[in-house]
Amino acid sequence: MTATPSRRDAVVDGVDVDAVAAAACACPDVVGLTAGWVGGRATYLPGRRVEGVAVDADAVVVQVRSRWGVTAGTLAGQVRAAVAPLAAGRRVDVVVADLEDPPPAGADGGRGGGTNLVGP
């Protein structure tokens, strides 16, 4: 289900769902979009489905998988900044549905008192 921004069928209530998905995925700390669980948030379009993006009456919901070690606030800020211009005046709700798997022990000194999970 790759997003193709030029398709006209992806516009739901004035929001181009494919553009929202592409903008959210382009955020540096977003690993990808996810429906979260079977039957989770997704937009159903003719013949396909965009997972992790839903257009509600008053909000665009973007459900993402976060990069490891990023604060939820930073992530939400990035996604909101990217998606807000496409949201047709709706608010942007960010759902951190999953997290990238942590780096293996030793890769970043995460074990034995390592405190560098997050940057400064």
Partner: protein, 141 residues
């Protein structure tokens, strides 16, 4: 099930009137908590359980034993902007259990609140095993 925080933590308030909510799933908190517990040197993964009971001779049946290098088992419940976390860990012999659990609790609390902005109300810890291995298991990463 999910957290609702109107203003995201971390000082990066959105420039769009602060509208929009931030939800965080339990699963995210669980992963952070498990990894945070692992960062404490004397704490390791919980003893493997079969049908909810730990097996005394699990190692002999080829079931993985409690492992100092592996992450602990965590479950989290989020209500509003508050979370409660339950952890199962093993402790390296002969470390002091109160000391290790206090360090784990502290680390988990800090990590989860730093990364998610949620308030950690409670960290419940169950110590399911003592690990006597003197050398940490070698890892193939």
């Amino acid at each position: 099930m999910t957290a609702v925080t109107e203003a995201p933590a971390g000082g990066s308030a959105p420039a769009h009137g602060g509208l929009g909510r931030l939800h965080i799933h339990d699963r995210v908190v669980e992963k952070i908590a498990a990894q945070a517990a692992r960062e404490v040197a004397e704490a390791g993964s919980a003893r493997p359980r079969v049908l909810g009971r730990s097996l005394p001779g699990a190692g002999r049946f080829g079931i993985r034993r409690a492992d100092q290098g592996a992450a602990a088992t965590a479950s989290a419940a989020i209500e509003g902007s508050v979370t409660r976390i339950e952890l199962s860990i093993s402790v390296r012999w002969p470390a002091s259990i109160p000391e290790v659990t206090a360090r784990v609790r502290d680390r988990v609390r800090t990590r989860v609140s730093d990364l998610t902005g949620l308030r950690v109300q409670e960290v419940g810890i169950t110590v399911t095993d003592l690990v006597t291995d003197r050398t940490p298991a070698s890892r193939v990463h």
